[in-house]
Point group: C2
Chain length 479, copies 2
């Protein structure tokens, strides 16, 4: 029997991943048409605001990182240090770091140990210790091909079947629901509180947990995404504490997706690990059985090296036999890309003040951070002026997730096309302006609400103006 | 309830992956002890013959590839072409290729389209056309993070549950059984014919297929690994034709794992795609409904860039809706590492005769190929002299897979330890010599036979002598 959509794995068929779905495919078609000189489209460029892909838009890679990786790729260059320094402007710390990393990995073309290069795990542990003020153990750190791969590993180990429930924030990054669909496990949604800038609301979480438990679901884990994707929220320490306390009461694993930890504009980032260690210190014994998996990535932040597919996760409090199964699972795919492991090392251990590359590094890092803040603010300002649109102040991550209130006629027109209203909106926005955003329905949203997610990575203000203009025309059309 | 080995995903618990299992972990411990100056071990170095990891041992990366990737990592270097050429010896074709690839990918730090960079897929299609003499369509080529990731994708799409059967050669690369265990699908084993240098035997395949079908299994696919892992066999055109014809009769997808296609020492490599197209030409209409997935990788061959995690697969004859699900599945993990996609491009489109980098490229490529052949021959010669050992002549891949006949006392000693006899042998070999091989039981083997798999990547002949000496002592000990 030939394979057909009807007889393949129904879990794959059911999985949905809007970030790379129909809209993204259509936007790539438009891009291809434009590059072939097609002048029939009403725009001159496609702006991929559907995905946090900093270097596709304007973000330049950090010079120190790329100088080091160029030497890792071609260690023969290290035979000409004079040329590197005097001819190409490489600083001595670039050369030293490359030599040190090469000593650790051998060749970036060789497999590393399954969980990653030992010395890189040690660097990560030192970073976590500096960040949180509490020690970290390299033995419980796992390098991964981006945070997505880490999430995949952890959900594969945790989920048995439909009876396993995982608490997922709504709206969520659709990797979570897609992976749960692939595993045929149950998504237990809990709504974030839009009225409190998309913070967590413990009552809502409790209700979701209790409803699922009453239905016989074995709820095992709560996912938090902080700073939030798609919401852009940055959780307060109180919110983090409340989630930890609840997870501890119910014996839930916490999966902390913290890939946007440096993309914070308001307040500061509170890592679950740091807050947990603090709570353990304050309440001896009380939180000792907590299980926590925290994920980080080179894809986001000021690093923005998502094309390299690098990241890591740290496990805290896991049973050693469970960790042995995590090890086995990651070993089947052999190891994370070694050059991406090196980029993780560079991210967690960047040039320090006084070192030759520090000044430029700091200038680039700060420049990217400020640029993102400015773009977020400009976009937010535009949204606030749009009819029927409300948008929380930008706090973190790379996204804004405005509420849009659409006229009834637009809702009806969407229904006639078999689409959600925000899907119709996003399609028309793309068709009219070349700007690709993802409708809120791709992430999940409270019943009766409509949103879209846009990154604020694209440079310039012209595209912001295009959204404003489109929005007005859309509203007028369906009024 | 806390996670324990008893309540996690039983599919993960059940999966086995010997290549990175207990022996590999122990060998890494030995390596760490040696590097800390531990002098209590009876050897001075660990030789990881358990895994095809060329650059961990002696294989140098191809200069052209790494010069290009160094420029991809740091495009700023292209502002100093003079220094690159006159100071560092980069040839003009290195610079041109880097510029062309950068034009295609933007930045290697940016996500590409989910299935890979279009221009790279076009390069692969041209390579396939040159290799097979028949056209290939870039729209059906998918870049992946090594062939392992491609196998994972394809099995995830094909397998529904225990009722889905996949024909797997025995012995096999344990990625296949591990992935089937994760999917809770059924491995339908078919033994390769050791008496015919590990070729395929159609009667054996038929019997396995019929037995599984009689048990109600929906057999959907036959995997062939050519050249063979762990066997080192290189299939004849007749064997490939017979498998295609059988798959066509039974409507089986063929999954052709061809990652060792350039590691061939005897005869020539026959791609399933090329043979299928030839058969389709010879028999118009007869093979038109065949579904084929062929996989290739940058990890093996003379490229040996496994640490970069790159590869691709090509689909032939798949239903468009099934391909849409393949697309969706790969999009959830976003894209293969972009620098590894560029290495795929370099592999399939290396310098041509007359181009500035050709001479060195050709010298390096030929040198690696000849070196592997010499090492394989030396190791084979040693095995032929060992008591109770038989080994097929090296034909391809990076492995020898000798039969070992062990004394009854050794079999009893293994049973007393709860191990397979070849496992006992491999542990004692590692403990005595620092050489890590994988027992045949980690790959599957015909009942009553024992083997081990070793790579022939390690340089020198000393380690070969250590195996010979250990073997004699082991035989004497248990005689």
């Amino acid at each position: 029997m030939r394979l057909t959509a009807d007889n393949i794995n129904p879990n794959v068929r059911r999985a949905e991943y809007a970030v790379r779905g129909e809209l993204a495919v259509k936007s790539e078609d438009y891009r291809a048409r434009l590059s072939k000189g097609d002048a029939s489209l009403p725009f001159e460029q496609v702006i991929s605001a559907n995905i946090g892909n900093p270097q596709q838009l304007d973000q330049k890679p950090i010079t120190f990182f790329r100088q080091v990786t160029s030497l890792l790729e071609n260690p023969e260059l290290l035979k000409n240090e004079d040329v590197l320094i005097n001819g190409l402007g490489y600083k001595t710390d670039v050369i030293e770091r490359a030599k040190w990393l090469l000593k650790q990995v051998g060749s970036v073309g060789a497999y590393s140990a399954s969980t990653g290069v030992t010395a890189i795990k040690e660097s990560i542990a030192k970073f976590l210790e500096r960040r949180d003020g509490f020690p970290a153990d390299p033995a419980h750190i796992y390098l991964s091909a981006g945070a997505s791969s880490g999430v995949n590993t952890l959900l594969n180990v945790m989920c048995v079947d439909k009876s396993t429930g995982i608490l997922i924030p709504i709206p969520q990054y659709p990797l979570y629901t897609a992976t749960l669909a692939l595993l045929n496990a149950t998504c237990v949604p809990y709504n974030l509180d839009e009225s409190k800038a998309w913070g967590t609301d413990l009552d809502t979480i409790k209700k979701s947990y209790e409803k699922a438990t009453a239905e016989g679901i074995d709820v095992r884990c709560i996912v938090i995404i902080n700073p939030g994707n798609p919401t852009g929220a940055s959780l307060s320490e109180d919110d983090v504490r409340a989630v930890i306390d609840f997870a501890n009461q119910k014996n839930l694993v916490i999966m902390a997706d913290e890939v946007y930890q440096t993309n914070v504009f308001v307040g500061k980032f509170h890592s679950v690990k740091g807050v947990l260690r603090q709570m353990q210190k304050e309440n001896p014994g009380k939180y000792d059985s907590m299980e926590l998996a925290s994920l980080h990535s080179i894809s986001k932040g000021m690093v923005g090296e998502c094309g390299h597919r690098g990241g890591y996760f740290e496990l805290v409090g896991f049973d050693p036999e469970v960790e042995a199964n995590v090890y086995k699972y990651v070993s089947i795919m052999l190891c994370a890309p070694v050059i991406s492991q090196c980029l993780v090392e560079l991210m967690v251990n960047p040039p320090k003040q006084g070192e030759p590359s520090y000044e430029l590094y700091n200038k680039e890092y700060t420049g990217i951070h400020e640029g993102l803040r400015e773009r977020a603010t400009a976009l937010h300002k535009a949204f606030c002026q749009m009819e029927g649109v409300e948008c929380a102040e930008p706090q973190g991550a790379m996204y804004l997730f405005p509420t849009i209130r659409l006229p009834k006629k637009a809702v009806d027109a969407a229904a006639a096309e078999g689409r959600q209203p925000d899907e119709l909106y996003a399609h028309q926005l793309l068709d009219a302006t070349g700007i690709c955003v993802i409708p809120g329905s791709g992430f999940g949203q409270a019943d009766g609400t409509l949103h879209f997610r846009t990154t604020f990575l694209a440079p310039g203000t012209e595209w912001v103006g295009s959204i404003v203009k489109f929005h007005q025309e859309f509203m007028d059309k369906y009024r």
